[in-house]
Symmetry: D3
Subunit: 240 residues, 6 copies
């Protein structure tokens, strides 16, 4: 049985960058869980701060919006409230993530890429997601549950991919669930310009997908896609 | 319907490096064709030269051996006899490969990686295989047949991978066809040390495959694998 | 006095990828010249071939369209008709480009990036543009005119930038001339989907430009940009 | 109004590597501030230790020398005295740097490159300078002053550039202020061999500058330069 | 007088990856010391955990095995017991390693490479080994003994070299001491599959060594080698 | 018996960049041969062209100067007169170089690095030198003499190393023969500014050599060095 785990630095990241993959998984009946290490309360809530909201108000707002988006996508969501800007890497936080791996036993892991010169919280989240995955694999690590297998890890697309050493090596066809992604994006009303930006991006990645698709695939012009970068080698019994 | 095309610089390359992928394809009932640009008559036949054979004898010998190996693998084989050491890149040779693409309409392409500081014929073959694939896609290119689609390209493993910028991003499980690969390797009797070398390599890549396999896979210690490097992004409807 | 030279593999490339830079130059009263090494008659005219046009008809069509676009941009245009798919690198073609450098004495050069796994004509054009620039600098090279200086070279954006090692290190604000670029794109009616694609791209690069702009710049949400990659170090008397 | 901020690991780094850029800014009437995270009291004061000085004496000595050099350059200087060899990255130190960004609101930032296998304090300083810049941009970050804009960041040249992945993409003409740099270097009498080393380097970078300069520039053989590496894409309205 | 220091994350690492280099050094009469930062008690002892041993039992077991292997190799061994999975980087642990450098004054240092997506303890150990080496060089660093010189650093081979950016630039001929390495490997009975894996690897690296050996070397087919990656430039008075 | 082969694009390249290595070899009594593919008559003789000399005069001049420099260094020199700017890669020219390898049987090869955005003749020479080395190794290649062994290849330093992906991994101590290099440089009177440039460079590389030298080496401040980049892995029986 497949199951998906998404480790996200801030509350909104998973919506823009991985909602398609999440919706595909839940549409197949597979469980999906989003772990937000922070609410993005300081670094990703500029509008709310300018409007004069307090820290607690902003956290509550972001939590509600992200929960709504996860609900639309059919995913569970957990908030670790670790504090953003900066998101600090600590053994304790890594340990909490290990416990999540052991509890959920995911077969696929999504997280941020390891480089982002515009936002250090993103690579920090990725480093902790990767470290926790390794620790969870060790029988000797002291946490409940069985040792984790070797779930493949995919990095989702950052905002300025070329500056983040992000070279997509997988294009995921999300055409059939794009309406759901669209609806999830609308759960984040403060960032309307992002709705357009990530719709355009899905179209552009869709165009690239059709260009890279094998000869047996007849794909419509309306194809939408998300780009991913695989960290570990693909394991397969058939080239395709 | 899937079909496999392997573009190989010399007569023996496809055996050591891609026999597993070929055998998997033919075992599934899919056609596979190997195109040897040269017989490897000058660069890969040191033993025969030391024994005093003539150029024609060596070509005939290599042709027979490679044909036998292809037969064992269930693949067709064609020889372009373009001359090795050096294998020269010419528009005419590229055009011949374009015609092959148009005739066979492959859905998967295998060739050498683009870097090899020990053997310039290998990257030359790869550059021509890639160039011909692009030309065959253009409706305006003057060759019989329909324009090619966009078959994915995989580089097979070179002899000294780290010196060739070869970072495997796909490990192919060839356990079930390894006996066939073993038999194909034995069709090349002049290179017995290569039998052991590539058996050891298959074991080592198999060990790595089991380390990278997802949690749902229970793989035996006898797993054998071949390593590949995907040139274009993978196109898929499901992360795995 | 500044002057711009654009070396383009096919007739349409300069429109999608560099029309903004050209329009900015001509709006400042600086001369700009586009050199199309080919008409893109085989590789970039799929629709015309499918409609059954002859090679000569397609060349004429592409020439007319590109000339119209250049006219809109206020640029001169020259066609070398070197034949595309494949665009072959020859000393004679390089020599023709050297003569152009010596004749025009450009102060800025634009061309394709050096890597493109989807289209080998693009890097071939770039290699020849760069080689000709170097040859034109040598007093001993036998061509009329004065030795060239050291005009900076910028690579314009390829269609799938991440697969082409294209990491923009310059974002050019083309907001004020985007209407002109839009009009130039409309001179190429066979590729309507490209109009949208490159308008979206200009918006996306514009968003990135505003994110990277220094604190003194107040830029509107409607900012449009083109991305470039500088080959040689920038020479300046002031950091900015 | 432009203003320059230099974040330097040790007290002397800014003199050897960025004095030219500082002198150019102050000569234009723009304010410049150097922030020395440490005095370099342990790692960059070998001679003083060999002479038997105490830690406090060495700190005082280095502070005086660096202050003198800053004075010559017309720059302000601040010392955070965070302790070197090792310079430890802490949230508290990053926070102090955020406060400086908010107070000074720089439009240009200079710091060390991110790789240096000879000196870990240098990349540590750079990581903190970059992290503080990002944090200072967030309206939600709790520090006095207005959110920072997006000042461009330039890495100055390390001692062994090729080993530090330092590929200059900007050559700054410091000919007119080289006398001032020379005078500033002489404020650090313990490192006389560095005076010659960095004078030679300025000459060599100057030679490279003239080779990369555009055709309109007539530059003398006495040109002096400093090399920089731009972290973020350049934003501009004109290619040059 | 030469002396060798090996900094190893876990108790067994030095055996698989550097036993040949150690045995060569001690065979020449040079002292060699292995420093194990941890016993690998959690991350590298899966079998013992599955058998139900306690943490203390596992530590004792690993200590005994590693000590036996070091004894076979003629090397001293020290255990810092810093705790693995995760191995945490702390200033205190780095300081302990500085003291070791100052005490032993090694002329050659071996450690893990800086990248390993399968095991974060390995790069953590490497970073600390490198940082301590730099600190030990500074006369101002407060630790007993003389400042360290500049011993060259070599990374030994990780388990999946291509995934770890490990490009060997040195192949060490260990043929004459391979029996000793074999015997040392047998001191670690829980990992019998590793005996075969690293024997095969030594054969494969040996084959590569003979291919890269200069024309004056006549090397047998039984050549065994270990691969290394040099961090700093080689210093020499003669090309070879 | 060691012997050195230097493959140089133009007549003067070997003097500036490899004279130290040559002088060291000949001082040890080993033969050294320089092969100049061209005289650098068009690309490296700007001064002579400006003075109005003819092509033949320039070739003669350059030949004389280079021969004098080789004489000072104790090396043989051969001129292939293949024509520069551009230096064209042809099978015939490669074949001539193969014959040289077979005749001289060098144990060390020096040539240009493979990347140089300022001069395409340099990488062209390097590609041919490498290709000829590989071809000369094949018993089946039709040229007199015995098959070549596997002589290591070193790239010497280009004029702008960072722009040429030149990361030195070997620093060669040329202190004892620097006077000879100095004298050889003075055989090229048209390029006096190069005398100073490469003397400064030797000093700078010497400083870096002393910083990278192991702890047993006591090196004077007057150390001079040349930087090299090793193409193939070093083969050795002892780490140093």
């Amino acid at each position: 049985m497949m199951s998906l785990l998404v480790v996200s630095a801030h509350a909104g990241d998973f919506v823009w960058r991985a909602a398609g993959a999440i919706a595909l998984a839940t549409a197949r009946g597979e469980p999906a869980t989003v772990v937000c290490l922070t609410y993005g309360e300081r670094g990703e809530s500029a509008k709310a701060w300018r409007e004069g909201h307090t820290l607690d108000e902003i956290k509550t707002l972001r939590r509600t919006e992200a929960s709504n988006a996860a609900h639309v996508l059919g995913a569970d969501i957990e908030f670790l409230d670790a504090g953003d800007y900066p998101l600090l890497e600590t053994p304790e936080l890594v340990d909490r993530i290990v416990h999540i791996y052991r509890r959920l036993n995911p077969t696929i892991v999504l997280t941020h890429p390891l480089t982002d010169p515009y936002n250090n919280d993103h690579p920090a989240a990725a480093r902790m997601a990767l470290q926790a995955r390794i620790l969870a694999q060790a029988p000797g690590y002291n946490a409940p549950g069985q040792p984790l297998g070797a779930p493949p890890v995919f990095f989702f697309e950052p905002h300025q991919p070329e500056q983040c050493d992000f070279t997509p090596n997988l294009l995921l066809d999300i055409t059939n669930v794009f309406d759901t992604k669209h609806q999830a994006m609308h759960c984040l009303p403060a960032q309307q310009h992002m709705w357009h930006y990530y719709t355009d991006l899905a179209t552009r990645r869709g165009t690239q997908l059709t260009r890279n698709a094998g000869p047996n695939l007849a794909l419509p012009h309306t194809t939408k896609a998300e780009a991913y970068m695989r960290l570990y080698p693909q394991v397969t019994g058939e080239l395709a």
